[in-house]
Symmetry: C2
Subunit: 260 residues, 2 copies
């Protein structure tokens, strides 16, 4: 791929420009894009114009730019993240109705959990999760479930690395984390009371594909009180239903050649 005089590919710069846009900074001036992407303003300006021309960014009447609908469409319509989310959706809706706070679907991506969906009721308890945003593996219920079933090398990196503290309840000790991961594999769920915010409890269970491999975590966030544990059976049943739908979808995809 074509490289700039600095030896950097065009694609690298495109990715850096797209990375400049976040949930907190959805609309940016070109100067701000340049600063965040660490590019000269003239370069950023030229590349932004090109991205706008292709619909990947949209220019507002003020001259500032934001993520383009075309990019969302291209990234979403063939996305495995969205496919998994569509499969899980009826179950998440059922869970939301039952618990009345938050129901969500998390996927392991790199060394974090990435949320493919979050459904929330009005007036629900505090929740840091956002769709297409990430949380650390050791601190969130979804993350702990995914970490408990992750490859050994990833587990070791997290267990021996720095475990950031969010509240007095966050697990920040490697030995304790190792024990909790073993508990999760044995018990089939995790309940995190106040790990990310003292007022909230996260409960998560694994979702497995037809080979038994854990492919997602389904979770609910509820108030941190004595009733939280009562949601575990519902969540376990929900995960089983997602697994049933996943197996059916894999069968159908086989039929039309989507999966080899």
């Amino acid at each position: 791929m074509a490289r700039s005089p600095s030896g950097e590919s065009v694609l690298e710069r495109v990715v850096r420009i797209l990375e400049a846009f976040t949930p907190e900074a959805q609309v940016l001036g070109v100067g701000e894009v340049a600063r965040r992407a660490d590019l000269p303003v003239a370069t950023a300006s030229r590349m932004v114009a090109d991205l706008v021309e292709h619909g990947l960014l949209t220019r507002e009447s003020t001259g500032r730019v934001r993520m383009g609908t075309r990019l969302w469409e291209l990234a979403s319509r063939a996305s495995p993240t969205l496919s998994m989310r569509e499969l899980a959706m009826p179950v998440l809706e059922e869970l939301l109705r039952a618990v009345g706070h938050h129901a969500q679907l998390g996927l392991l991506d790199g060394e974090e959990v990435l949320f493919a969906e979050r459904l929330s009721a009005e007036g629900a308890v505090v929740n840091y999760t956002r769709i297409a945003a990430r949380l650390p593996l050791h601190a969130s219920s979804s993350g702990l479930v995914l970490l408990a079933h992750a490859p050994g090398d990833l587990q070791e990196r997290i267990l021996t690395g720095k475990l950031a503290r969010f509240t007095s309840e966050t697990i920040t000790d490697g030995a304790e984390l190792r024990r909790r991961l073993a508990d999760i594999r044995r018990e089939g769920f995790v309940l995190c009371a106040g790990h990310l915010h003292l007022e909230a409890t996260g409960i998560a269970v694994p979702v497995r594909d037809e080979t038994g491999h854990v492919v997602a975590a389904v979770s609910v966030i509820v108030p941190n009180d004595d009733r939280a544990r009562g949601h575990v059976p519902l969540l376990t049943a929900g995960a089983r239903e997602i697994q049933r739908r996943l197996r059916r979808a894999v069968g159908e995809a086989d039929d039309i050649g989507l999966i080899e």
Copy 2:
């Protein structure tokens, strides 16, 4: 931006490669990517490798590639499409519960309606809508609502262009379409019985921003029978609730500087 010997920018080629992936073709070999993107196999192969390196595509163990989670994340986390969808979500869930088939949110994009969300009940009536997929403006209930409130030049292009037929009920006559658009502006909703599929009725109403500008269509798809019309008041109330949430969000975004 850097151009190939053919004068085409790298970005043009990246877009063509991303466009190769569709809901029906989520996993592709490099040869198939090259064919769909109309690129030499060597070029496609090099660009796919670069896209995989940046996480925008993912290579499976078979060597075939699919849309990358990273691209979905970047495109989604700062997307106005997703923001609008999150605002509308509680209302769509309420509508889904009430009608028991499909509830959806459509946005005008170019000369088509692009669906930001589709929620469906188990065993619901047939529905061609998919998330991040498109339908023609003249043939879908959401499309008709958006077209009724679209700029005049877009209306004229559609009214004087070819109006594709899907069923015996599709509006394919320009003069009839013009009358229907006036009806929609007067009545505030559209009911399309069998326009896309004879078994289904689409009902759509406009969603307006704080200036009165129509920014979306909210719709339900139900069986084509006498009960369909009874859902109109519910849908109208749903649109009002989305408008209320939209105004509140604009106020909050003003406060943190998201919107000028």
